[in-house]
């Protein structure tokens, strides 16, 4: 009950006219930042830090946090409308969100996505409010072996997403891992796969690859059908929104699972992206209409989005309680904390409770405000699709180029984007699946680092991956999930046999 009292105190801190005003501005800016690919919450937060000097620290953190929420919301929009993920955790949303938009169901997809975000946020905020210290303790128990087991779980959840040809799926995965391996070898400290070039030292950034593979690749596929693409039939009405809401409760299982995955993964740095992938993979594996995933069904939008936002909120836990930035955005926020004269870390709860609880209360309130703001935007965003293709297409290419450049401020990335565009186009035609490749690119680095750190800890013995209490059950779960398609087929067969008897 102490948490409740504290939360009430936090609401007291938050609910001033000034703070609500700040929250609205923050969410508005954050949404814009999230919409533009390559611009992340980190950019939004960085430019506003100077503004926060004149604010009290609590209002300042509310402003910055709201930019972060806004970016979480905004990342969805381009994924659904143009197949270009604004943020890494929105990649999985493309798989079903974009096909939905193509069918003329963009408003429904956007509404479903934003609503799932809100549900994920509420779920994670409850967890944050009452369980933050506990979650932080569990997070601490996760060392390299446990991280590796989680990576394995994510991969096995995604196994069902392969293409028609297993060998091409494997090639795609290997390509993803190879790209992730370019740069430095953390254990020996030597350069690898750079072939003596400076350009390759920075490796391939995931966002650049994704903008090319999905965004540019999709454009090339579309134009092949004809340069004058018909404008999509978009009908935005309150009815579409209400219909979506009526449909949402049907996916309560997916929502609950996604929210749990999100909360759980969020406390690890960079957790939102694997969480969204894992939630999508699980939803597909356990859904009744498993084979319809990827064709544009609402469940495929709901699953990654609920997990992404839950993870986004839950990522605040390590930042507040441990002082580790879970993401570049959080790193920038930590810089801000220090300028305001606060020392991030476990002492924050004790030394500045009004600050911490004000922030937690603001998560409750600002996500509620946020969902209203972005829903109000839906018709506006859907209207973009009505623009003529010959205007829309070059504009998208231009914005994509900016996005690819902005990630690392490197010219070479724009070239990579174009090359990845061709790769995406060719792969799609030749049945190389792109989703597993992207997943391998995102997680390859993390998985390899965790694996090799664990091997050092285990003095070379792979048994360390199965150490209790956390790594062992997760690994077993990963193995079960990996063979789940086979298991369920076998189950079906036995059921059929029984019927015959």
């Amino acid at each position: 009950m102490e948490s409740l009292n504290n939360l009430m105190m936090g609401f007291g801190v938050f609910f001033t006219q000034y703070n609500i005003f700040v929250a609205v501005i923050g969410i508005f800016l954050g949404t814009i930042v999230g919409v533009l690919p390559g611009l992340g919450g980190a950019n939004g937060v960085a430019i506003l830090i100077p503004v926060t000097f004149i604010m009290p620290p609590t209002s300042a953190i509310i402003l910055l946090a709201c930019i972060y929420w806004g970016a979480l919301f905004g990342g969805v929009i381009t994924s659904i409308l143009f197949n270009i993920p604004g943020e890494p955790w929105s990649v999985a949303t493309c798989f079903d969100g974009y096909p939905m938009a193509k069918k003329g169901k963009a408003p429904q997809a956007l509404t479903a996505a934003f609503s799932s975000h809100f549900i994920g946020a509420v779920f994670a905020t409850v967890a944050l409010t009452f369980l933050a210290p506990l979650i932080a303790e569990i997070a601490l128990r996760f060392g390299p072996p446990e991280t590796f087991s989680i990576m394995m779980l994510t991969f096995s959840a995604f196994v069902a997403l392969g293409g028609k040809s297993p060998i091409k799926t494997l090639i795609a995965i290997f390509l993803g891992f190879t790209m992730a391996a370019v740069g430095i070898d953390i254990v020996s400290g030597k350069l690898r796969l750079t072939f003596g070039t400076t350009e390759l030292m920075g490796g391939f950034h995931f966002i650049v690859a994704v903008i090319g593979l999905f965004g540019i690749g999709e454009i090339l596929l579309t134009v092949e059908e004809g340069l004058k693409m018909k404008s999509l039939p978009v009908r935005m009405s309150l009815r579409a929104m209400l219909e979506t809401w009526k449909e949402l409760p049907r996916y309560w299982k997916t929502l609950l699972r996604g929210a749990l995955i999100g909360c759980w993964m969020g406390f690890k740095p960079g957790g939102a992206t694997p969480a969204s992938f894992m939630s999508y993979g699980f939803a597909k594996q356990f859904s009744k209409n498993s084979e319809k995933f990827g064709t544009g069904i609402m469940e495929g939008v709901v699953a990654p989005e609920v997990a992404a936002h839950a993870a986004g909120v839950s990522a605040m836990v390590p930042m507040i309680t441990l002082g580790i930035p879970g993401s570049p955005t959080a790193a920038v926020m930590l810089g801000g904390l220090m300028i305001w004269g606060l020392q991030p870390g476990p002492m924050l709860f004790k030394e500045h409770p009004e600050f911490v609880w004000g922030l937690i209360a603001s998560i409750w309130a600002s996500n509620a405000i946020g969902v209203i703001i972005v829903l109000a935007f839906v018709p506006l965003f859907a209207a973009i699709l009505k623009a003529p293709f010959s205007v829309l297409m070059p504009s998208i290419v231009f914005i994509c180029a900016i996005g690819a450049y902005a990630v690392n401020i490197r010219m070479i990335d724009i070239w990579y984007m174009i090359i990845f565009g061709f790769v995406g186009y060719t792969f799609k035609k030749l049945d190389y699946p792109i989703a597993p490749m992207v997943l391998a690119l995102v997680l390859g680095d993390m998985a390899e680092t965790a694996m090799r750190q664990a091997l050092i800890m285990g003095q070379g013995s792979p048994l360390i991956f199965f150490r209790p209490p956390f790594a062992l059950p997760i690994m077993i779960l990963a193995i079960i999930i990996f063979f789940w398609p086979t298991i369920s087929r076998w189950k079906q067969k036995t059921v059929k046999k029984e019927c015959k008897i």
Binding site: A42, A46, I49, P50, F53, A139, L140, R141, F142, G143, P144, G183, I184, I186, V187, S188, G189, K190, L191, T194, T198, M201, G202, G203, P269, L322, G323, I324, P325, P328, A330, A331, V332, L334, G335, G336, M338, I339, G341, Q343, P344, G345, P346, M347, N408, I409, T449, Q453, I456, M457, Q459
Partner: protein, 329 residues
């Protein structure tokens, strides 16, 4: 297309003449940045150098020390080599600076990338970072001596967490191994924050984190500081209770990490002067002083020939230690 090009030529001509006009006025006055300055961090987000850069750039804006903003850009590829080579390649461009840590010396030595700090124009040493030997507060070791005895008894079992491979954390680890006849299991992590958390979560047995990386866990009673890797104690309240290596173990050990600023090669004297002045002003702000004491950094502003001399000595020392430790041949 032809039309477009000829039109473009006219525009180009106009722009050129304008630019020449403005150029002459720029040269007349003392140098000042005329466009945003790229502030390259040759390390990932959240590390000590990154936090410092992200602290300095809004600070410059707050005190209006520069007419143009400073934009922090992380180029962490190849243990910072990507960032260094990027700055090295911007010969004569005064609108790009970099903040360095010890990978300025370690990375070229370990990876063999064609880079040396002499390729850059030194601006100033802002501060030095201490190293502290930490263990988990729940571990039974109350002094560095006890811990070292325990490690000695079981060689190759105790896990020392550190940032990267063949970088400062491993150098200090090797130095300790040689001094006391120990063998650690060195586990590399990607950043100082991860290292500190691995110790709190008991995935490492000890670390040589910088004070800033361990301070919040230390104040929360999760970590115990055993010794400072320096000849003198840290002259800040609370920190001054930590004994030096010599006091704790009898062996004299000292290692500091550089937090310094560099410009690309071939930058004009005026520009270099401007930056030296800028960073002098930065280090004189009250926020900077609070930042130093909060994150327990050693105030050590140094410029000019003295800075270059210090860099030369530091490079020699790093090379010698890395050679001794078998990190390079």
């Amino acid at each position: 297309m032809k039309k477009v090009f000829s039109g473009f030529k006219i525009v180009l001509g106009l722009v050129c003449s304008f630019a020449l006009l403005s150029l002459s006025t720029v040269i007349a006055s003392a140098w000042e940045p005329t466009k945003p300055v790229e502030f390259v961090v040759p390390a990932g987000t959240g590390g000590g150098a990154d936090i410092m850069a992200r602290f300095i750039s809004p600070l410059i804006e707050k005190h209006k020390l520069s007419p143009q903003p400073f934009i922090v850009v992380n180029k962490s590829g190849g243990a910072g080599a990507e960032g260094f080579l990027h700055v090295k390649g911007k010969k004569g461009d005064p609108h790009i600076i970099t903040i360095t840590l010890d990978n300025l010396f370690c990375t070229p030595l370990a990876t063999g990338v064609p880079f040396n700090w002499r390729d850059l124009t030194p601006v100033a040493r802002l501060a030095l970072d201490w190293f502290v030997l930490w263990v988990n507060a729940e571990s039974p070791y109350k002094t560095a001596k006890e811990y070292i005895e325990a490690v000695k008894a079981k060689p190759g079992v105790f896990k020392m967490g550190g940032t990267g491979t063949a970088q400062e954390d491993q150098i200090i680890t090797l130095q300790m191994e040689q001094a006391f006849g120990l063998k650690f299991l060195y586990v590399p992590y990607k950043g100082g924050g991860d290292v500190a958390v691995s110790l709190v979560g008991k995935h490492s047995d000890s670390t040589v984190n910088n004070p800033a990386e361990g301070v919040s866990h230390w104040k929360a009673g999760r970590l115990r500081a055993l010794a400072v890797v320096d000849r003198e104690r840290i002259n800040l309240p609370e920190w001054d209770k930590i004994p030096t290596m010599k006091e704790a173990t009898g062996f004299d050990m000292s290692y500091h990490m550089l937090r310094g600023i560099f410009l690309p090669p071939g930058v004009s004297k005026e520009a270099q002067e401007w930056y030296i002045n800028l960073f002098r002003k930065v280090t004189e702000t009250p926020e900077w002083k609070k930042y130093l004491s909060d994150s327990a950094l050693k105030s050590a502003f140094l410029t000019g020939p003295a800075y270059v001399k210090w860099l030369e000595e530091k490079e020699e020392l790093t090379k010698e230690l890395m050679k001794k430790g078998g990190l390079i041949k």
